[in-house]
Symmetry: C2
Subunit: 571 residues, 2 copies
Amino acid sequence: MEEDNAAGPSKKALKKAEAKAKKEALKAQRAAERVATQVSNIELEDDPAKDNYGTTTNPTFSADAEEVELRDLDDSYDGKKVVIRAWLQNSRTQSAKMGFVELRKGGNWTIQGLVLATITGTGAESQLPAEGTPVISRRMVKFITAINPESFIAVEAQVKRPLEPVKSCRISTLELHITKAFVLAAAPPVLGMTMAASSQPVANFSDEEPKAEEEVKKEPEAEGGIPAASMLTHLDNIAMHKRAPVQQAIADIRIEVKRLFRSYLEERRFKEFEPPCLIGAASEGGANVFRLAYFGQEAFLAQSPQFYKQFEIAGGRERVFSIGPVFRAENSNTPRHMTEFTGLDLEMEIKHSYTEVISVLEGVLLHILRGLRERCADEIQIVRSVYPSEDFLLPEPGKEVRLNFAEAQKLLREEGPEEFRNVRDDEDMSTAQEKALGAVVRAKYNTDFYVLDKFPETARPFYAKVDDAGTTVGDNVRVTNAFDFFLRGQEVLSGGQRINDPKELEERIRAKGVDPNSEGIKEYLTTFRQVGVPPHGGGGIGLDRVVAWFLALPSVHLAAFYPRTPKRLLP
Amino acid sequence: MEEDNAAGPSKKALKKAEAKAKKEALKAQRAAERVATQVSNIELEDDPAKDNYGTTTNPTFSADAEEVELRDLDDSYDGKKVVIRAWLQNSRTQSAKMGFVELRKGGNWTIQGLVLATITGTGAESQLPAEGTPVISRRMVKFITAINPESFIAVEAQVKRPLEPVKSCRISTLELHITKAFVLAAAPPVLGMTMAASSQPVANFSDEEPKAEEEVKKEPEAEGGIPAASMLTHLDNIAMHKRAPVQQAIADIRIEVKRLFRSYLEERRFKEFEPPCLIGAASEGGANVFRLAYFGQEAFLAQSPQFYKQFEIAGGRERVFSIGPVFRAENSNTPRHMTEFTGLDLEMEIKHSYTEVISVLEGVLLHILRGLRERCADEIQIVRSVYPSEDFLLPEPGKEVRLNFAEAQKLLREEGPEEFRNVRDDEDMSTAQEKALGAVVRAKYNTDFYVLDKFPETARPFYAKVDDAGTTVGDNVRVTNAFDFFLRGQEVLSGGQRINDPKELEERIRAKGVDPNSEGIKEYLTTFRQVGVPPHGGGGIGLDRVVAWFLALPSVHLAAFYPRTPKRLLP
């Protein structure tokens, strides 16, 4: 799926889309101009309803109306007068006397509003309604239905049950009979991306800047006839991107992942800490690290909180977790990569075996995945309505799948595609192998979540603890007490037991060809020599990936609040 | 206080301290050597108790002993056999037959252990104890009391009530009768900083590297005769720094601040979001911003999440908060400054007035300050035992102090020190003025927490909304709907209403001499033009400062997990 998106639509489709987009824009512009003329023609001074509508930052409402959020409206409000602040999402004119609007708030709560003129007749013939009835003029109806979509407005209205349920709105059994309406913040007549376009699946994830001759936004037509926008257009219209219910739902799911991670660990006596972003050495390999000038020295942006989690253990914190940004200076322009993402990390003392760490990590991930299904059912449904996906298969309790790396490679050789007949037990897996294995495991064990344990030392960093039993695989390569976790065949977590003995650590550092006296490494090693450090292990979860792969999104960029890629730093 | 610390002790005192430190180190070294000799002289093979002690990564214990954490030990364990993993903090030999140890775990939980030889007689005369009694030799007693302090050990023991309470330990009504003891991770014989030194107040906060002739650690003698260490020594011995109960307590308090911040806001429907650290423009002024090479362009580290919080509001998120790192490339080597710190930020839609924002921020800060007193009473006590402070005075509910900036300046002129007789209502305050005002407010209103509102526009950034009433102060300077919050006379929060109208915003950007088409500013302004953005406001709290000033710590560096200063990036 992601390959299709990365490649994008054909040139012909793009040309057609461009032409269509231009036409749409022109049409919208003209409509806006017409409306502007109409509105300016209304002489508000003459209007008996003039105090009941307009554009203001400080509307006054009657004291007896309750301010209420859309999401809180329920049948108990039937017949009550309320004040609602919301986005005007749509409007239409039924007649000169009557108009409809659709209001949206709280991400995804929508309701229908209607406005009906109470002043009968026109011009000199017009008659005010009876005392106590709201004064609503035809001009007021015109004003309200001419408000630019996505403007932020405040209305006073009476809540009533509609004659029949309003299917197009989430709140379908109530509607608002508008008596006052004020624009608090007007959207422009033409939006850079409409709500309809923003609510379509993103058409193209390439973050290449469009070439000069392609400057008109690429918005290939989606199936329903509404043009879909590229990721570039989405990010260039960041507010509209975020207002779409699908992005609201993804953001809510992302927050819930963090909340579930935190609550599970806090219940198990993990304590939060904050690792630094600015560090003094490219400790975990210098290749993909951002460097910056720092008061005459050089500083680096942390690629992971690894060393700092271990310092916390050395410092007697027992069980720690952190949630924060990590950075990779990798020039990879794919829907799988970002230069800044959020790590959910933990580290803990080990009592008897590193499998205690696997159990906590498996526990927290299952808590997250099960928790999302329970708490975010609505949000998942919204995401699926835009990005369809198969149900995420979770293992039954007690039937969690943990495979050793060598077992997994064997499975891939025997049951995977032809091209993986010769994968080795002593070499790391490629992304393609991982995905193929995901399919094999799903078919065999009926789960999209599993653990690969005992990675060969060739595939792990110097701090990974080698298996005590001295097990070897392939060409006499020792295995480690280190593991990866997968969602839908894609890695979301790396972890393992760390070496806590300074002699063993120095030996492994040298064996990996790293200078134990190099900056950063020296200070790391020193900490283990300075004090006794208990046996420990941990893991790091990529938050963006958990969200993206759980929802089977076509790009991890959709899961981020502000995706950072080699070509994208704004907004 | 901080000036004293920044200046540090006199040269003479330092020389004396150096000599003392050298002497102490030598003494410790010799003691360690003696112990090492003793231990190696023990021929373990001969010892009938040899399976009950030693150095191992994988001790085996009897199956009937329960593994328990020190903090969970209560009277219900009296008489039970338990396994405890902990730091050996201290030991002493009572006789050849008997020794005492002090174990520490969970930051600050300590208990006394004793080990008593059950094998009677010596050499050929020795007799094993009766069947069922633990086999403990004199060699085992010697081994245990010779373990280097701060080693991580596991013991099997019977929990018993001591003859009289052990005053030196937090768990004073229970003690451990040790039957097995294994060193899991040995500390070296000489620690770079002892626990006693680490538990003293930091002697010197300067982060200058010591000059060549001063290379011996500066550890001026504290009152109790235990040498205090400089911040340099603390950070160079990061694990020992963290193990001290005072730092454990500060870390626990810091975590609680975040938890209280989050829970208060989540209950009020604020949603978390994650602003980026990497940004494409030095949007809020280029002076104190870190720059880095970014795939052929330049990237910057965010100085605040300001613009991104506003994008969330534009994107329909209503009420948001974030907790994360922010960066200042300020070459300030003071106990008040760091280059990386944690911001607690929020932003919210405004319905009627920006005072709604003040109320939420005042609410969350009071919730934090009151919450700390309730939930962290023990931790606060521990911190005060090292860094004494006056009670933090909180206003009674309903008597919160909000002063306008001009009122505060008047107060300072009239009731403050002589030097501030001429402070102006249209110029920002200095740190010295703030502190002086803190004293005046404390004396007058009996509170260490208060709000200054309506700052003059000269003192605020371009996005600050000017007061609607057109109020001016001093030399015809308009005031803004912007405010600061103070703890003990030191600023911990800046906030206010933001301009949400793009025309007004552009005007203010120009008035502040900023180019509205410069990178970052252009994209910021564009967002307001692209869509209607509701009235909104918010604020940013400095987490490190809240912790430091609430506890009246001599330096904000003590509140951070890994303080980053112009001269300190490691560990």
